[in-house]
């Protein structure tokens, strides 16, 4: 039995070699199509990693913890109490593997008004701890004038360039921040502009102000409370499991659920997540259309190979191969051709992503300035990233094409009537 299938496989492979030119032409279509899919997805994956990296470093973190209602209400009443904060910090420390934790920082985030001598704008005000965020803060890297917050600052504040322009602020300008405090009363705080940042994301540049966390707490009468705690991890791959572990710890402590929500970034920033997903889906659809055309070429090529060998299939049947075995022979031929060329295509994609363009692809010539996307931004040099999920998806696509493209020709081969086949010359 084994012998029979080996024989069928051998004949199939020799037939591919016999039609070398046809096989190579079909294979090169597959190689190019799959290689392109792989490379384009690696570019997109790299871009997405950058978006995620930026977005997490803008304050949300890979995992963020807030009062469960805060995301909807943005009301200081829905905050993390000081005693829960202590439990939470400990839970994170014990459940994140060592080396994975890059930063862990509490923040106070509140909506309010920024007012200068001339006018006022609505802003999102963040009280941050520059010591804890040092090295990871996205804003610290985007300062275009002055400096970012430093440990020991009290009344210093950093504003987006749009805020500065609309309020006519310069370094050293005074600025009054107003927001509802913990008691529900309107509170105001005088700060001095010490730095201006420019992120490239319009809504951020036009509406964000940072000031030191202790100042924010005092101003809003929060005591030791905060609104959110963010965890930055060494790699996004652990986000899900870390969120799960922290949630587990906090559930044991009895604080998760009612008082605390632990969210991976894709839950904390659903817009960004949906945007990235839609982007990837769009790319796959586009490239699947391309691969469908390649698949048609494969169907055509295998079908021609079957039609050209009608007589041979008649001989095989006369020799005692049944329909199934004849179909299997064609399947082996087609699946081998597509699988082998698909794998070569994947290698080509890998080589492009990690070798030829391994140092990054500068796409600024297409877009010019910054690339803002769903509240995040990326640099114009994309570092291609080959993601495990894409490799699996592309491999699945290759196998599916191999089988689908060969099914019809194989079915056709099983329908060949030996008596009729023997009448043809082919």
């Amino acid at each position: 039995m084994m012998e029979r299938w080996l024989l069928i496989g051998r004949i199939a492979l020799r037939n591919l070699r016999r039609q070398l030119r046809r096989s190579l032409l079909t294979a090169s279509a597959m190689v190019l199509g799959v290689g392109l899919l792989m490379f384009v997805r690696a570019l997109e994956g790299g871009a997405h990693l950058m978006y995620v990296d930026t977005a997490t470093r803008m304050g949300t973190g890979h995992v963020s913890m807030e009062h469960p209602d805060y995301m909807g209400s943005q009301d200081l009443a829905d905050r993390i109490a000081a005693r829960d904060l202590a439990l939470l910090l400990e839970a994170v420390a014990t459940s994140v593997p060592p080396g994975e934790l890059v930063a862990l920082f509490p923040q106070v985030n509140v909506g309010g008004l920024a007012q200068s001598a001339t006018s006022s704008v609505p802003v999102r005000i963040s009280g941050v701890d520059p010591a804890l965020e040092s090295g990871v803060s996205f804003f610290a890297q985007q300062v275009v004038e002055g400096r970012y917050l430093e440990p020991g600052d009290r009344l210093e504040a950093v504003v987006g360039i749009g805020v500065a322009e609309r309020l006519r602020l310069e370094l050293g300008s005074r600025l009054v921040l107003m927001a509802a405090g913990a008691q529900g009363d309107l509170e105001s705080q005088l700060v001095l502009v010490t730095g201006i940042f420019r992120t490239g994301i319009p809504e951020v540049d036009r509406g964000v102000v940072h000031l030191p966390l202790p100042t924010a707490r005092e101003w809003l009468e929060l005591g030791g409370d905060v609104t959110s705690v963010s965890v930055i991890l060494a790699s996004d791959q652990r986000t899900g499991s870390v969120a799960e572990a922290v949630r587990g710890r906090l559930t044991e402590e009895g604080v998760a659920g009612d008082r605390l929500a632990v969210r991976p970034w894709w839950e904390a920033m659903p817009d960004l997540y949906a945007g990235l997903r839609a982007d990837a889906v769009q790319t796959y659809i586009m490239l699947l259309v391309l691969l469908a055309i390649v698949a048609l070429a494969v169907v055509n090529s295998i079908l021609m190979a079957v039609l050209n060998r009608t007589r041979e299939f008649g001989v095989l049947r006369a020799l005692g191969l049944n329909r199934r075995a004849v179909g299997a022979m064609v399947l082996v031929e087609g699946v081998f051709l597509t699988l082998a060329s698909g794998l070569v295509g994947m290698l080509l994609g890998l080589a492009l992503s990690m070798g030829v363009f391994g140092d990054g692809v500068d796409i600024s010539f297409i877009f010019g300035g910054e690339l803002a996307f769903a509240g995040s931004v990326m640099e114009p040099v994309i570092q291609p990233a080959v993601l495990a999920g894409d490799v699996v998806a592309i491999l699945t696509i290759v196998i599916a094409i191999g089988i689908l493209a060969t099914l019809y020709p194989a079915w056709h081969a099983t329908r060949i009537e030996p008596a009729e086949a023997m009448k043809t010359d082919e």
Partner: protein, 252 residues
Amino acid sequence: MSDETQRPHAPAVETRALWKTFGQGETAVHAVHDVSLTIGQGEFVALCGPSGSGKTTLVNLIGGLTDPTRGEVRVDGRDVGAMSEPERAQLRLERIGFVFQAYNLLPVLTAMENAEFPLMLRGVPKDERRKAVSALFREIGLEGLEDRRPGALSGGQQQRVAVARAVLGAPALVLADEPTANLDTQASDALLGIMELLNQERRVTFIFCTHDPRVMRRARRIIRLVDGHVERDAEKESGSLPDWVLEPVGAG
């Protein structure tokens, strides 16, 4: 597997009221027209008759390569019409060898591989296969050509490989549809000699379709078809050629 219908000394081939009709109504062609035949084990039979008389259709029916419109075919006592497609394939693999007029061989296999193909399908071990093929190749003058692809063999050599392939599995029956039509006199004689030898040594039943008087001369039974039915069926001495075989239709 014991098949009820299999009899130990069943004839090699039996057909009962066999019909094959192509098309319908006024354009219908009765390619095989009520043919009932019994061909015993070890016979050496030539099917002759004018072009279009149904010879090819009849051997295709016997080999299960096409379905009868009506009637019954038994090979080795087993009803071919009652078999499923895989069973029929198995029957061909084990009991029937085919030799066609031309392009019999698989172009991607060597002469050796072509000849041993049915044995391979049947899972015969390599040593045994090679021994059997080598012995037969020596006997029929194919020695030294084992590793050639069909494209590098002459027509006569290809036909000899095809005959080797047909008889190697010790079939009950070899069906040969004009095996000598593409060969010159010398090659035909060589091929026929081989088939006669195998018929005598191995008791393989041979049925030929042929227009070739040399083939008919060697046959020991001649069946003449006209318009799909048996017009004459006679045993004869090997070497003789009755005059009726070549007569024009209707003159017999």
